[in-house]
Each structure stands twice: as C-alpha cells, then as structure tokens.
Symmetry: C2
Subunit: 421 residues, 2 copies
Amino acid sequence: MPIAIVLLAAATPLPAAPAAQPIVRRTLHAASFKAAETILRTDHERFVAEIVAITQTASWPFGEDNRARLYADLMGQSGFTDVTIDGIGNVVGVRPGRNHKLPALVVAAHLDTVFPQGTDVTVRRDGTRLMAPGIGDDSRGLAALLAFFRAMDGAKVQTDRDILFVGNVGEEGQGDLRGTRYLFQNNVRARTAAGFISIDSSGAGKIVTKGVGSNRYHIVFSGPGGHSYDKFGIVNPMVPLAKTVVGLYGIKVPAEPKVTYSASVAGGGTSVNTIPPQVFVDVDMRSTSTAEVERVDRELRAIAGQAIDEENAARSTARGKVSVDFQVIGKRPAGQTDETKGLAAIAFGAATAFGYDSHFIAVSTDANVPMSLGIPAITIGSGGSGGAEHSPDEWIDVEPVESVKGLTVGLVTIISAATAR
Amino acid sequence: MPIAIVLLAAATPLPAAPAAQPIVRRTLHAASFKAAETILRTDHERFVAEIVAITQTASWPFGEDNRARLYADLMGQSGFTDVTIDGIGNVVGVRPGRNHKLPALVVAAHLDTVFPQGTDVTVRRDGTRLMAPGIGDDSRGLAALLAFFRAMDGAKVQTDRDILFVGNVGEEGQGDLRGTRYLFQNNVRARTAAGFISIDSSGAGKIVTKGVGSNRYHIVFSGPGGHSYDKFGIVNPMVPLAKTVVGLYGIKVPAEPKVTYSASVAGGGTSVNTIPPQVFVDVDMRSTSTAEVERVDRELRAIAGQAIDEENAARSTARGKVSVDFQVIGKRPAGQTDETKGLAAIAFGAATAFGYDSHFIAVSTDANVPMSLGIPAITIGSGGSGGAEHSPDEWIDVEPVESVKGLTVGLVTIISAATAR
C-alpha cells in the first residue's frame, strides 16, 4: 500500500460507529488470546530480526523470487507444515482451523516493493528507528504474519476456519495486483474464502474498506509524419491527442461516488521541424465504483475516436491517416466492503479496543481484488509508526510497547474473523 | 543546407526566365575565365583531397573549432594572404578586387554539420563515390571556395569588388545561423556588402531566393502537480497545452506567402498517477514572410494565454495556478531576393549556360540573414551529385566531368557578381 496514497486519502468521516462486536470481546477475553499477546511481546526481537532479513533480501517489481524463497523458509521455521509457492510466485502457508469445510480466511502481506533492482536495501538503525527502502511497505507486514502464526500456535489458539497466510507478489504499481488476482482465480480456498485481510504498511486504525479501481492507458496517436514546412497541411496526431485531453477534462463526474481522471504524461515527436509520426498521453481514471470508471472510459474512447475522425477530415490524408491505440497500463477493479458489520466492523472494534482512532478509507490495495469478487476484504496496518514510504528514506519505529500494541490489533482482528458465525 | 528540405521543397515554377545576363556572357567569353576553368579541371584531385581532409576533421554543432583551424590553414596554402578567424569562429579570407571602395561580395560555405561529437567521419570510397557524414553538406562547399580562389588566382582573374571568402559556423538547426548573424552584425565589409552567395551542398541549378523564416518555441506549461486521485480537481497544465495545440491548428493561413506551423514534440509528466507539474510542446512556425510568422506567433501566444486563464478559472488553484513560458529554440529571419535581376538572375543565367534546369526555391539557409537585411543573397550548390544529407550514409560523386561542370557554374556566378555595375 503506497503510504503516499494512504496519507493523502481523506479519511471518510464515519456516519456512525459499527455496532460493538461480541466476537471481538470474546476474543479479547479468551485465556488463549492473553497467552498469544504475551508471546507477541516476548517474540518481538525475533519479529524485528525478521523485518530486517526480509528487507535486506531485495524484492523489486516482477523480481520477488529471492524474497519469496526466504519467506517460505521463514514460514517453515515458524512452524508452518503446509507451505507452497504458487504459479505466479505467491507463498501460501495454511494454518488449519477446527472445521476444514468452512470457508477459509485469507491473510496476506505483499512481497514486492516499488524499488528497482540494484537499490541499496541495507537497514540502518538509530535507536528503535529502522530505515531502509520497503521496510514498512511491506516487510513489517510480512514479518507480522509470521509473528501472528507463532503467537497463535504457541498459545494454542484454535480458530473455526482455516487461515491461509500469504506473501503475495505484485501489489505495487505495474504489478497491477497480479498476485492476488492469480490467488483468487486459481486457489479454490481463496476463491471461496469468507474474507480477506491484507496487512500492509505500518500503523493501526486506518481500515481500507473502499478499493479504488482504476483504468490506466498509454494512448498512442499515430500519423504519417513529415517535414513541418514541406508537408504542412497533412494530418498531425498531436491534434487529436490535444482534443482528447480537452474532451477528457470536459467529462462531468459526480461528487459521490468519487471519480477522478488525469492526463498525466505526454511524449513523442522527432524534432521541432517534423510533424510527429507518433505522440502519446498517459491517462489515469479512478473510482470506488467500477461502473463510473467504465463510463469515463467509454466517453474518453468516444472523444478520441471523434477527434481522429475530425483530424482525418480537416487535413490531408494523402500520405496516410491518423489513428489511435489505447494500450492498457493497468486495470484495477473497484469494490467495497460493508462498513457496518463483519470484517470491517471487527477491525474497527479491535482498533478501538486498543485506543486507536479508527477510520475507514478508500485506497487501492490488494483488497481490491476480493472486493470486486464480492468477498469481504479489508486492508489494515501492521502496527507501529513509520513513514516516507516509496522513498529511499522509508522508516519504521520498533519501540516495543507501541509496536506490539499495533500488532495485537491485527491479531485480534484475524482471530475474530476466523471465528465462524 | 539540409538536403532533405531542398529535395522536399516544391520548386517554384518560374513565371518567366530572367532576362539573359550580359555580365554572365562577358564572364564566359573572357580569356581569363577559360584559363580559370582549365585550372578547376587540373586542380580537381586536390579539390577532392581537401573535401576528404575537411570531412575527416569532425565539426559538430557548436564544435567547429578544429575544422575552422584546418580551413584557415587550407586558405593560407591556397594563396590567401589575409585570413582571420572572427569572434564567433567564422574563417574569413579576403581576395582584393580592383576597387577596395566598392561594396564587397561575400561568398560563404558552412563549417558545421548536423552530426554530434563522436560520429565516425571516416570517408569511404567506392569508385568516384565518396561516403561520410557531412561530405556534401558542406565539406564540398568549403573545398569549392578554395578551388574557386586558386582558379581565379592562377588565371589572374580580376574582379571589381573585393570578395570575402567565408567558412562560417552555425548554419544547421540549433546553430540558428549564428555565424552569418555575427558576420553581418560585426564585419563592416559584410554589413555593407553588394551581395551574398552561400555555396551549400552538392548539385547545380537550384537557386535559393526565398529564405524561409521561422520562430521555434519550447512552450512549457507549469502547475502545482499532485496525486491524480487525491488532488483531482486542481488545475492541470496538460489542459492549456492541449487547448493551445487545438487553437494553433485553427489558425488560418494564406496560400501565398506560404505559412506553416507544427506542434512537433510533446513531453513532461512524472507518472501515470500524478497530475503533471510540467509539460511542454515544441512548436515550429515558418514563412517566407516575417510578418506572417509574427502574426501566427501573436495569435498563438494569445491562444495560450487564454487557455491558461480558462484553466485557472475552471479548476482549483488552491495549490497553485498554471502558467506558460515560451522558450525560444530558434528564430530565423525570413527574406527574399529579387528573381528578375541581379544575383539571382546571374546564378540562373550561369546554370542555364551549362545546361542545368534552373529553379528558384524557398529554403532556410545562411542567406536568410542578409536577405532579412535587404542585401541580395542566394544559396546555390557546389556541383556534382550527392544525397542522403543529414544521414550517416551521406554521399557525393566526384566523377570529374560532372563535378567540374557544376563547380564552374559557381565560379561564373561569383566572378559575374563581383563585377561592378
């Protein structure tokens, strides 16, 4: 989860707090949970050591293999007996519940970072502050899953549902959620899951219940091109590009659900004295409503098509016509999870119980995929404080009291969600 | 002179051939000219050797120094006694005429090429065909000036006017005619000259009498920028850019004088999910009429200004406004030379006398500068055949009969033009 987005996303003011969750209260009062909480505390140094080990095993977009192998090893060392790496590179470890026939709970953290191959991922330490690219987003989340498992196992916490602990690939940017897409297409337990919780980035209290969907295009406009003086009068693909941008910014959008678009990057052309044979503009459109994204998408394609027709009619096509090609950069499905009950309410109750100011927020995370499939899904933090995500100065603070408290919120949420109702 | 432009430029159909030029006839029948023509023939191997030496002394945009020094040496070896390199790097050699008080004739070829530093400029030879970057544009022209001087000196040709032979810098692209600009601003003999002849590229018969002027801009649109989802609703500099392009392509232009414009190169933006803080478009506008270029320029600036105002009114400027900055890439003055008499008629008569199909054409060359100052100016070829200028496969053919015949047209033109009337 890009913290940049999390920090910038306006917190949705909660109309009314979800009803207090009896399941959360039951979890908190169980003797096994008290034991698990104690283990989280005593296990904290191992947790920190694992954050460092994971961070220092570089994992770049489409290059998560080394970290995946490390993560499978760490799962084995933590006591998982059923660990596999699936066809796209997700690491999946299963913790059996009482009833294997119940729909499972999926708990995931992502293996990839935004940082390219070759980035220095050495962890620097200053007191309880650890600094390195990717350390909070999402090394801490990955290590949290291992700590949750060990705490539950050590305290003999029994859940009704099986829990699939997943280290997944492809959450960031161009990864385009391919890890969770693959998981929910190919893993039967995931496809039929009762819920999905992504542990992504540090912090506690922010609960992603709206998955912002997006369509992103590299729109290429082509034409014959030619010398700017001698061939003046022929079609120029820059004109339909310009009309498409102007048209895009004329599209009306509602206040709710939120819909956005952006003409973000432009490029192309040969030299100042050449009518360009090819130019492009990159466009991003987003909403928590898939229908709204698709509406803007349709309107934009119609605008571009009309601009092409107008250009081919306005200027000479003797040397060739202009044309347009929408090349997909990314498509993330939109979705949302009911904020009044179930998973979202459990997470809200758990965070509130530990004194965190809880909010529901709208961001694009791995939870988009199950949300779009109708599976209740949320994304929450792994606890502790941190910042500067997606920058080389990324940091987390592992001061034990706060760090363990934040972790505990996740543990309560998971145990409660794995309880059948 | 970029041959690409020469080849592409539509030849202006001549309404009526200029009146036969008595001066040309007198030159052709003078005994001294016959002797000079013979010297051109016997000197041809040296001429070819000099083309090779000049070509193999790399001379890139703003990096003409080495070739300038070589050229000054070659002028000295050819018998020039008055050779200087001026403040911008032009090599100037003077051949005195009978009357130093008469306005001089300036004959120039350009030292620069379009090829960047590090380009392999080794000349390959296949029979009479020589291949290397810049060999025709304008090594052959530079060597032609030396051959003209030796032929005139050897044959004791006396002209009325002093002739300034100039190897000038900065003809191509970004050089923006800075060599000739400097010459006509700072050299008194040039500033008061009777005429200017640029010997540029191979061939004979094409006579540049219209200097296509141009204004070229790198137009930068700036704004606050921000996250595409969170900051949706703020001004986006891509929109006024797009409106400026659409507006440019709505500007009406007359058929005569020819006026052209092109939105040629676009760029800018950070990532697909960022409202760009800065985008640009490069625009070229040209005409044989400076007034027309300036009209299009004014209209474009008004369109861009209005687009900026509209964007600042249409969307939020809470984080900053959009603005536009026209950065000058190049400004070449337009101009033309009377085609019915004087220099143009002399060149026409000389080419016709040797059987060449003569045309007047409109191109941007070093002659633009004197044309814009009201000094009669033309650009003609150095003879011989050639092609692929501005490409690494550039070639010329130095088959002696055709090569010398083409050179002779230049010699007749220069001697005739240096004769007072």
